[in-house]
Amino acid sequence: MEKIVLFCIFSIGVFADFNQLERHCLSCHKAQQIPSNLIYRRYLMKYSTTKQIEDAMFNYLKNPKKERSILPAQFFLKFPMKKALQLNDVELQQSIKAYVEQFDVKKKLILENSSH
């Protein structure tokens, strides 16, 4: 019974995080056709560990600058620098976690049929 209660609380928490992510981040990304998936892959390719990705995203979103961005410098010749998110640290960290969770490649990886 306790497990079920804990699972429900956890699920509600996760759902709340995703809801927050959708509201504060992805809604704009979708509207502006920003490929969130590919941006996550860029972070992944540069930082490797979840902790470092989250830290890098946090630093950028708190104080967006060209040198903190994962996108190449040329990108900002065409597009303006985004404004800092008006979220408190806890909300921002929860949203980043939800973002990383949503686009995590580990979930997509499956073994192909064996060869040779």
Partner: protein
């Protein structure tokens, strides 16, 4: 021959071991190369996967080569190696290869590839080396045998010549020695030698020496064909009889004879073997004794001891003294077969045979009967 074969075996074993070790490393290196090649191939596949926007990313699955990717903190991401296996963990009988991935496609900083060692070529190598060693062993044994025969043939020929000579000589000596002895004994019995007593004594000693040498040589030559009759021999009587026989020789050297023989000591032995044993020990003790020395014979239920106060035998020479035709002191006559015969008799009846000797002090010979 044994030294030659052993040294060849050691040399070949060493060479084979070096060859085996180097070939085994070479075979394992080849398997490592396959791993490296597979790792590079995987890396390019990870790049393609990283760029894929598909919902499912198919991780390459090789039947024989396992792999896994780890992040910068060396935490497991995905792979065909089990997630329970730690990054540093290595299993026996497996080959591992780690390579860095840069940039971190799929978040992977390290790629670990592993495969089971293929022991078939190594076992084939072992088999080939074994066959080679066996063939080389047979070849060098045959070669060694042939060369050995070639090298020792002059020695063997001379030994054979010596044996033939002794055989012929002994055959020819029998009759004249017997004639001399019989006649000397007859003259003594008839008491006809008063005027030339000393000369007759010398003739008697010389003929008895010749007779004993003849007996020894015959014994050696017929040793293998001779059919032994094991009977109860009264050793006490035999020792006393033989001592009496050699009295003339002992008197010639003015030896002091001490006989400490317990009565009725018997042995289950062939009479001729017992005779040769006692004769050789007594005659040696007389022959190599000093002038006016002492000869002591002790016979008990346990042993026969013959002690002399003669020239002695050096410690280094004791190991050779029992060999056939080996004479340490060349100043006395003889063929050097006396102790060889004693040793043979002792071996046949499992008696313990021991010689203790001090140069210029004397020799003690111990024959301990088997219990």
């Amino acid at each position: 021959m044994v030294i030659y074969l052993l040294s060849t075996l050691v040399l070949f074993s060493l060479a084979s071991w070096i060859f085996y070790t180097s070939s085994k490393h070479h075979l394992l290196d080849k398997q490592n190369e396959v791993l490296k090649y597979e790792a590079e191939s995987l890396k390019s596949k990870f790049r393609a996967l990283h760029q894929s926007t598909d919902d499912k990313l198919y991780y390459p699955n090789h039947k024989e080569i396992k792999s896994a990717i780890y992040n910068r903190d060396k935490k497991y991401i995905f792979g065909t190696i089990k997630s329970t296996q730690r990054f540093e963990e290595r299993k026996e009988n497996s080959l591992y290869y780690i390579t860095k991935i840069e940039p971190y496609y799929l978040g992977a900083a390290y790629l670990l590839v592993a495969t089971d060692i293929n022991y078939i070529p190594i076992k084939n190598l072992q088999k080939n080396i074994l066959i080679f060693m066996l063939a080389a062993g047979i070849f060098f044994t045959i070669l060694g045998y042939y060369l050995g025969r070639l090298f020792v043939s002059p020695m063997r020929e001379s030994l054979e010549k010596m044996n033939h000579f002794i055989q012929d000589t002994t055959h020819e000596l029998n009759t004249p020695i017997s004639t001399i002895l019989t006649n000397v004994e007859m003259i003594e019995a008839l008491d006809k030698h008063k005027e030339n007593r000393d000369e007759f004594k010398r003739i008697e000693i010389a003929s008895k020496t010749l007779s004993r040498i003849y007996d020894d040589l015959t014994y050696l030559n017929l040793n293998h064909q001779y059919h032994r009759q094991i009977v109860t021999v009264n050793m006490s009587n035999l020792v006393e009889e033989r001592m009496a026989y050699f009295t003339s020789m002992a008197e010639g050297k003015k030896l002091k004879i001490v006989l400490n023989v317990l009565p009725n000591i018997t042995l289950q032995i062939d009479k001729n073997d017992a005779l040769r044993l006692v004769d050789n020990l007594i005659s040696n003790a007389i022959k190599y004794n000093k002038h006016e020395g002492t000869l002591k014979i002790i016979l008990t239920k346990e042993h026969l001891v013959v002690l002399d106060t003669g020239i002695g035998i050096a410690l280094n020479d004791l190991q050779y003294i029992m060999q056939r035709f080996e004479r340490i002191n060349k100043s006395e006559g003889g063929f050097g077969i006396g102790l060889h015969i004693v040793n043979q008799v002792c071996e046949n009846y499992r008696f313990d045979f021991e010689i203790k000797s001090i140069i210029d002090e004397g020799t003690e010979v111990y024959i301990v009967w088997k219990k």
